[in-house]
């Protein structure tokens, strides 16, 4: 479908070359000019760019949320049953060695060529980082704090929710940020099953030698990663006010 539009601009460009001045100048993203940075491109293809960005965000956010929802119980399980831990971390790391281009196809038999395939694949990747950091964070809770809370009569659930989780939060959030930023980048590979958000624009752009599109999609990917990272950092600051006052005091 891009091919047609591109071909039309090509024709418009051609006529402009034959009759300079008479016809409008060729658009800067037409095949003849093919500039890397082109304002017209952003104006004319705004809808397409916005749709791809939304798709990208949707895939990334769902994948990381799914990963987080799975990671916390798994980490708790691994903490409860110490024997499980090496096996769990081994599997998680093993998953990470499967190339993304290979992982999505491996999920296709279960979920088909759909957005779900990409979301599940990316969630599995984020799991590696999230499980490890959740475990690491919980392990970093000072034992005497846990002891005091137990002494004060905290139940196990309350101890976890009110004491351990908040104290582990900085480490868990650090993992969440790493997982999110990696997932934004990996989402592009979803283009292999046609659900790659901005990755679809990259793939099409390369096929059609469409520079403005490739550069715009690349830059947008990096911007999304930076914005999400900063947002998570802000959330972390809000959720751990004591860390800031401690830092100020230090």
């Amino acid at each position: 479908m891009f091919g047609n539009v591109h071909a039309v601009t090509l024709l418009a460009g051609a006529s402009a070359v034959i009759e300079p001045g008479a016809a409008p100048r060729p658009s800067c993203y037409s095949r003849i000019v093919n500039e890397w940075v082109c304002k017209d491109y952003f104006v004319d293809r705004q809808d397409e760019l916005v749709a791809a960005t939304k798709e990208h965000l949707l895939i990334t956010v769902s994948a990381v949320l799914l990963g987080l929802v799975l990671a916390i119980p798994l980490a708790l399980l691994a903490r409860r049953f110490a024997r499980l831990e090496p096996a769990l971390l081994g599997v998680a790391t093993g998953l990470y060695t499967i190339p993304s281009l290979a992982l999505f196809p491996l999920i296709v038999p279960f979920t088909g060529l759909s957005r779900t395939t990409v979301v599940v694949g990316l969630a599995l990747y984020s799991l590696t980082i999230l499980v490890r950091n959740t475990l690491e964070g919980l392990r970093g809770v000072p034992p005497d704090v846990v002891e005091s809370a137990t002494g004060l009569g905290y139940s196990r659930t309350r101890l976890f929710l009110r004491i351990e989780l908040p104290l582990a939060l900085p480490v868990i959030m650090a993992g969440l940020r790493i997982a999110t930023v990696s997932t934004v980048a990996l989402t592009t590979v979803g283009a292999v099953v046609a659900y790659g958000g901005l990755g679809n624009l990259l793939k099409n752009g390369v096929q059609e030698d469409f520079r403005a599109q490739v550069l715009a999609a690349s830059v947008l990917c990096v911007l999304i990663a930076i914005v999400l990272d900063l947002m998570l950092l802000a959330v972390q600051r809000l959720m751990t006010p004591w860390a800031r006052s401690a830092r100020a005091a230090a």
Binding site: I98, L106, E136, A174, A191, V206
Partner: protein
């Protein structure tokens, strides 16, 4: 599931391993790409990172290269390189179509784990050990070669292994820009609705990734550069320091990846 039986049949069919487009040829091509790109990344990244670590300076750069690297999709780098005229998608000998772009993109991708691990490894050599070296009258070079480098070797090697496996895995993306390697089997399979082929390609890539991981672990053990803490009796200094950095409120360093290998290796 029937798909898996068909996939197995596809992978075990010798006909699919032969020829220009066969699995052997593409696998060798991708291995060649992987090791060349790793070589480039090592040649560029290692001297800089080791030197900075030795001086104890430039930590911000060495650590943050990993964060930047994570945010930049390799697919985007590859796409931009292929469309940028000085690189383009010409054939490059045994590296195939778009060989140069693929090599460069993979080398860039491999730099962060190498640089960050090498820097952290040297930088985290205990200060009292350095002081002892100074006290024995070692020159700066002697201190680097005889003290810092041997102590840094385990973490440094972990970074190289991580880079190796990740470069191999990422090399498949080259197929998305019609480049070389095993990714072609996967994309071709899906483009033609030939699921067994697409899945078969994926299985082969994943299997080689695991083989590389295991072989590099054996090599590391043979070289005697496993993590000190796995041999017992030695302090867990490196790991402790590293974790502290990973969890730093600001930008977490490669931590995730690096620490992960440590954790798995330790267990």
């Amino acid at each position: 599931m029937n798909t898996f039986a068909d996939t197995w049949a596809w992978v075990t069919d010798p006909a699919n391993w032969r020829g220009e487009e066969g699995l052997w040829h593409l696998m060798l091509q991708q291995l060649l790409l992987t090791f060349t790109a790793l070589g480039i990344a090592l040649a560029i990244g290692l001297p800089i990172a080791l030197w900075l670590g030795h001086l104890g300076r430039g930590g911000f750069l060495a650590i943050n290269i990993s964060n930047v690297g994570r945010a930049v999709p390799t697919f985007a780098v590859l796409a931009l390189l292929v469309m940028w005229e000085p690189v383009g998608n010409d054939n490059l000998g045994p590296y195939g179509r778009a060989g140069l772009a693929t090599l460069l993109a993979l080398a860039v991708f491999g730099l962060p784990p190498i640089v960050t691990n090498a820097y952290v490894a040297v930088d985290e050599v205990a200060p009292d050990v350095r002081e002892a070296a100074d006290g024995m009258g070692m020159t700066s070079w002697q201190k680097f070669g005889r003290v810092e480098l041997p102590l840094a070797a385990p973490l440094l090697f972990a970074g190289v292994r991580l880079a190796l496996v990740q470069i191999w895995a990422t090399a498949t993306i080259a197929a998305l820009v019609a480049g070389p390697g095993l990714g072609n089997v996967i994309t071709r399979g899906f483009a033609n609705d030939d699921y067994p082929q697409g899945l078969g390609g994926a299985v082969v890539v994943a299997a080689v990734a695991l083989v590389l991981e295991v072989v590099s672990a054996i090599v590391q053990r043979a070289l005697g550069t496993s993590r000190p803490d796995t041999r017992g009796g030695k302090p867990r200094d490196t790991e402790g320091g590293q974790d502290a950095r990973t969890t730093d409120g600001g930008f977490g360093p490669a931590g995730g990846d690096v620490a992960g290998h440590g954790v798995v290796r330790g267990g």
